[in-house]
Amino acid sequence: MKTRRQFHKLMAVTAAGLAAPAILGSKVFAQDKPIRVGASVSLTGPLASTKNGQIGYELWRDDVNAAGGLLGRKVELVIYDDQSSAANVPAIYSKLVDVDACDVLFSPYGANLSAPVMPFIKQRDLFMIGMFGLAGNDVAKHDKFFHSGPWGPNSGRDWARGFFDLAKAQGVKKIAIINADLEFSKNAAKGGADVAKEYGMEVVFNQSYPPNTSDFSSMIRNINAGDPEAIFIASYPADSTAIIRGVKEIGISDKVKLFGGAMIGPQYGALLGSLGPELNGLVNSHTFVPEPTMQTPAIKSFFDRYTPIAVKQGVDPLGFYIPPFYYVAGQLAAAAITGSKSVDPAKMAAFLHANAVDTIVGKIAFTEIGDWKERRVLMVQLRGIKGNDLEQFRNPGHQVILDPPSLKTGELAAPYNKARAS
């Protein structure tokens, strides 16, 4: 550098060069900017077990970008950790919208974390795909919100109806209901009691328990005293384990035909592996199982890619319950964008309201508040489990679909004690 003047010129050119993309990019090259998809995921905190869903998002993004993106634009994910706390959600979604300028939003996991964001998206009229929030849009009734989860219409009451349909078909007249005193399980139990009443069943035992309960022996004895023919349980992973072990220890009446319903835990590899054969006979809800009526090349390809990533990251290696539906969320967003040829929330929402979308878990059509038109929560019976090897759960026949009838792969093995002993 010979003179100070030359140095200044060089600096001016460099500064102009650095600033050019920012100045020009916003207007002239807006179409080349990636489509930004924003979400919060519970990477830490009590809901961290759901973080394997992020693999679903990332696989979808990679697939879309490998195919040339959407409307000729690449897709970029912007993900923040909400630490499983509803208190963090408003600021995160404001950041996603107001600072990161995301075009599409995915909600946090579940109803309690999604609830804080509903007034925000309604007020700002934004497009959002909901992630597993039961009855998540029933209050806000936002017309640009769509569930990726298969809960179906009236989900607050009906999502576990399949269990009661099975009980009714078995001629069950007396039922017992127990639930953890937490959001999801409390809703499930309340909905279950309503459906039982509708079907003319007598609820002989209905009790909630504190979330940290670890000894269910007295509750199981009280249930046996009520002499029910079915037991509907809405529990979380730790209590699910304690209940299953409690039944093994104390025993249950031979009259019980169905046992389970809404137990969280036996959907995940950790619990399937630790409880193993003790789960035989259980009839429980699920969202996806590798049974012949659900297997497609697309879902098989998804799991072929999911498993090695999950093993590397140390998350659930099976990933049946959540990850496919995170991929589905991406597919719904992609269909809305390409179908409406736009990232305008109103046009995207109009497309999803008017058209069914093909996804890796099947065709999905939506109601006016974004619920699936058809409930597709599975009731599966766990059978033939030997040992604690997780790989057996990748084969058909161990999680037999009893409901819905369109996906059914077997008949209920009853009574529960007989199915349990098998």
Binding site: T44, A87, V139, L182
Partner: protein
């Protein structure tokens, strides 16, 4: 009025003016969402410090008072349509009553036993809320707040301004306690409760006053929360994170003066907010933990104490 008080008053006026003007100067709502959380923690840390810092009674029950304020405000608004300022006032009154009740039951025990007893308050209140269906129980309660008044451009900005006012009032209250006879009495209690009692300091009465004021501030901090999240549920409202932050922030900033909790809360809450949207992974918890350990190791009396010592201020 002393020079220090005049400077403090001028500071209050400036902060309040900024609280009302910023929403019109800064258009991006994100800063008000993040700013709300920081100010909420300034209030919580200040409230906690009145009992925990001045009197030296470590209170793990901050989340209990905060949650009580959250639920009372949500209930009064959804059931009776009470405006937010009245909800805050009601929360402060109930927080004060709760503080006196807790103090009356627990202040006869000290140290770790007192800390455990206050932790029990959180568990008791959370369990009660879990079992009241009128408060949404475990499922939570949606709170769709009213439209913001005309002097505020939007809901997030309105919540921010309200929190600025609450934080300023709390800090002013804490400063008044510190420099008044109450503060002198509480410092005596912290130095040696037996000696204070022998010297004629009404220790129980002073501690009850501290409990009431601390409870009122903590509950008032929770009152606007339902309008910030539009949804309340017991696990978040009574989260132990609130209780831990309420202790960590004054410890980082310093527990002996009103400045300490303010500095600690501004620092730690800002770091937490920034880490949430930058590092945003398991690492942010580690990062915040590392900051906490660093401060405890290198500045055990807090930042304000560090500067106080440099100025040669006496340490009581």
């Amino acid at each position: 009025m002393r020079k220090n008080s005049l400077v403090f008053l001028a500071g209050i006026v400036i902060v309040l003016a900024l609280g009302f003007l910023m929403p019109w100067l800064l258009r991006n709502p994100f800063y008000f969402f993040a700013g709300y959380v920081v100010l909420q923690y300034v209030t919580i840390a200040t409230g906690w410090n009145i009992l925990g810092g001045y009197a030296g009674y470590i209170n793990f029950g901050a989340a209990g008072f905060f949650g009580a304020g959250v639920y009372l405000s949500a209930f009064l608004f959804t059931s009776f349509g009470l405006p937010l300022p009245l909800c805050i006032l009601a929360a402060a009154i109930v927080g004060a009553i709760l503080g006196v009740l807790m103090g009356y039951l627990t202040l006869r025990i000290q140290g770790v036993y007192f800390a455990i007893a206050t932790l029990g308050l959180v568990v008791v209140l959370e369990t009660i809320v879990h079992n009241i269906s009128g408060l949404g129980g475990a499922s939570g309660m949606a709170v769709y707040g009213p439209r913001p008044p005309a002097w505020s451009p939007g809901p997030s900005q309105y919540n921010f301004t309200v929190m600025v006012v609450i934080a300023v009032v709390s800090v002013a209250l804490a400063r008044w306690v510190e420099i008044s006879w109450i503060g002198r009495g509480l410092r005596a209690v912290r130095a040696s409760e037996d000696a204070a009692e022998c010297s004629g300091v009404p220790t129980l009465r002073l501690k009850l006053v501290a409990c009431a004021l601390s409870g009122a501030v903590l509950a008032a901090a929770g009152a606007p929360y339902p309008f910030y999240t539009s949804f309340v549920e017991p696990v978040t409202a009574f989260s132990l994170i609130i209780g831990l932050n309420a202790i960590a922030m004054p410890l980082i900033g310093g527990t002996r003066t009103w400045v300490g909790p303010v500095i600690g809360a501004l620092l730690l809450a800002s770091v937490q907010q920034i880490a949430t949207v930058t590092i945003s992974s398991e690492l942010n918890i580690l990062f915040v933990g590392a900051v906490l350990i660093a401060f405890v190791a290198f500045a055990p009396g807090g930042i304000s104490d560090l500067f106080g010592r440099k100025k040669g201020r006496a340490r009581l």
